[in-house]
Symmetry: C2
Subunit: 409 residues, 2 copies
């Protein structure tokens, strides 16, 4: 299978590219590298030093004997997106290439606009590129469980059968996303669903939960193959941040009551889920949705798990409840289905103390690089903020740069 | 009541500005005038000659004694949007300022991107401007009935009570929009709903049906007060196009079987609905949805109504069934609720032969300006197209031009 991985420089994109390559697929890794620039703007940095894409790909060749093709590319350029798809004629495109931080999207108007334009335009361009040059290619798109919000009924996988006034239909599951970032993913989902119906494209939307873990079998093979690890308020995901806090003896910072329940998964399951989706494409015209997570936890439960893992080594960890910077329900019903990837053969890693130990162990190796001031939330959902975070650079997006696609016939 | 009307140069924006002014409200009319530039790009033109905004406002002053303030302004600039709201401190903002043609959005990738960026960014900027400078102001947003698509169950007004696995919730009604334009309105609706919840803004989303008619009491007062009338394949709405075709003895062009059923309303009801919504604001934090139409018709029924109106004058009209350029169901269930505006006091105009006669009469006055080659659909939903329609101009959208909003406190 030939796979293009978009967003291959990211926390999940890079391990996915490696995993697919290790499993014998032909991999083209593409990224605009904007995530490294956003780090500079936010005063954040991966805890684990990461090599350049060029270096990573060379190291992978040397370690595994396998070739990953590296392409620097910005999806918000339609000509570049079209050229990439036309050149490689992939069987599948795995699309991670989005601004993926909810707090970042809530800093200010320009950050909200940057997030939605980057994500929506990149995905639109990809859809047009697929229609033009590879209509049979399977789009595997990374969405988020956050698209659903926290409804008071069970969350299904993308669609729900509704009976109403004596009639029935199977309709897209209603969405209640909780930030401009999560909203951008909902916009993408609607756009992709439409193109499957109108153009006969095939797509799988992976509504992923919160990912934890420091790496995969492949990223562990060499220090230059490591993936980034974020522990800060902007890019860090909750369990990784708790592990980082525990490692340096900082209290675990729980937002509000900590009753917020979410689906989570191990990064090693992310890469496996993506491969399973790619190996089992949806039909032409089908927009398929998988909920990609393995276990549900409340934030409080996660803090307790980290505390327990430390206690097993005789170490005490405290928990601080901070005013919640987000507007979200702190106690709510949550029961989300996640059957379809299991049906395709996923064997999940459950959250073990040993995993928590492993992540904490990694943090301890790079302890000196931790900036504890980055633990506290800088962005408030109601007022924005971000302290010293700079405005996004004046990036001129050429809304229209390609000639109009010629009429049929 | 002080009202800012955004998109005040459009088919509906201008009559709305006049109606609100006639009813004694203080009106600020704003527009980027981009619609006139899009006409040049598409080779289209309003059948009825329209005066410049400056001229219109002067004429209105002279005819009515009332002052409308005119502001040329592009909402995709956050500083400009913020300055407008800060300066006028409106009680309500009526937001028509979007690219509103489904065929235009389907021409090519750049046209799809232009549509979604223009609409989503303009609305995001407006939301930030309201949060910053007028959080109590009521946003009256023009949506479209096309957001819902054609589900096999009754269409409710924005929300639906769902019972599922023994639990219940009232959730946003699932959306199945049918073009990149309709999708942009769904994106807007989700963004606005979120800001009502997160920031306590107040908003009413008017999911409007297909509008017909040549003007209102106010636009009829002077030739320089007339609003535009579109009969072409890109901007013309179905009933107006049929009237134009009938007037010049052209067959009525029905797409496919003509079983597509939609909600419609008279332009005189549009202006009244907007005023009713504005006079009865939603609560702080409330995102309210009204379905804004008065009657349902299939396309075939509309063609028959026009034919019957002509026959009453002894004139025969033929009907051509063209291959449907859109991807839509041609026979389907359709039952959409539209009670809430009636509850606020709307007294609808029903579709009368006299109205059809009046529209045809208007077209006959400007018969020489009709270009019959603009009746045939140039844009196919599956392949794009548009013939000689130019690509959108290379408009540099500065994704970020404002300083980041400062942190709380």
């Amino acid at each position: 299978m030939r796979v293009v991985v978009l967003g291959a420089d990211g926390y999940l994109g890079w391990p996915t590219a490696l995993h697919l390559s290790a499993r014998g697929h032909e991999v083209v890794a593409a990224d605009s590298l904007i995530r490294r620039r956003w780090d500079v703007l936010c005063g954040t940095e991966s805890l684990v030093p990461i090599a350049s894409m060029k270096r990573r790909v060379e190291r992978w060749k040397q370690v595994s004997g396998k070739q990953i093709v590296w392409e620097k590319l910005d999806l918000t350029s339609l000509p570049d997106a079209t050229a990439l798809i036309a050149q490689y004629q992939p069987d599948a495109v795995v699309h991670f290439a989005e601004q993926r931080s909810a707090p970042y999207s809530m800093i200010s108007g320009p950050h909200a606009v940057e997030t939605q334009v980057n994500n929506v335009v990149g995905t639109l361009n990809l859809l047009f590129a697929l229609r033009e040059s590879a209509p049979d290619c399977h789009l595997v798109k990374l969405g988020t469980m956050g698209e659903y919000g926290t409804p008071n009924i069970d969350i299904e996988e993308g669609y729900i059968e509704i009976e109403h006034n004596g009639r029935k239909d199977r309709l897209p599951y209603p969405k209640q996303p909780g930030s401009f970032y999560h909203l951008s993913k909902v916009h993408d989902s609607h756009n992709i669903m439409f193109t499957c119906r109108a153009w006969g494209l095939r797509a799988t939307d992976l509504n992923q939960g919160v990912v934890y873990g420091s790496g995969t079998d492949e990223t562990d093979m060499h220090s230059e193959l490591r993936t980034r690890f974020d522990y800060d308020d902007i890019w860090g995901t909750v369990l990784n941040r708790f592990c980082a806090q525990a490692a340096v003896g900082h209290p675990l910072t729980v937002y509000g009551k900590g009753g917020q329940t979410r689906g989570l998964l191990d990064i090693r399951d992310t890469v496996r889920c993506v491969e399973l989706a790619a190996l089992n494409p949806s039909d032409r015209g089908e927009f398929r949705v998988f909920n990609q997570f393995t276990e549900q936890f409340s934030v409080e439960q996660l803090a307790d798990r980290v505390r327990a893992a430390r206690r097993a080594h005789g170490l005490e960890t405290s928990i601080d409840h901070l005013p919640n910077p987000r507007t979200e329900m702190e106690t709510h019903y949550y029961n989300a289905k996640h059957q379809r990837l299991l049906d395709l053969g996923l064997v999940p890693h459950s959250l073990q103390d040993s995993l928590i130990d492993r992540v904490i162990g990694l943090v301890e190796r790079y302890k000196k690089r931790i900036k504890p001031e980055l633990f506290a939330p800088r962005v408030d959902w109601r007022f924005g903020g971000g302290g010293k975070i700079a405005a996004p650079p004046k990036r001129s997006l050429h809304v229209a740069t390609a000639p109009s696609i010629s009429a049929r016939g």
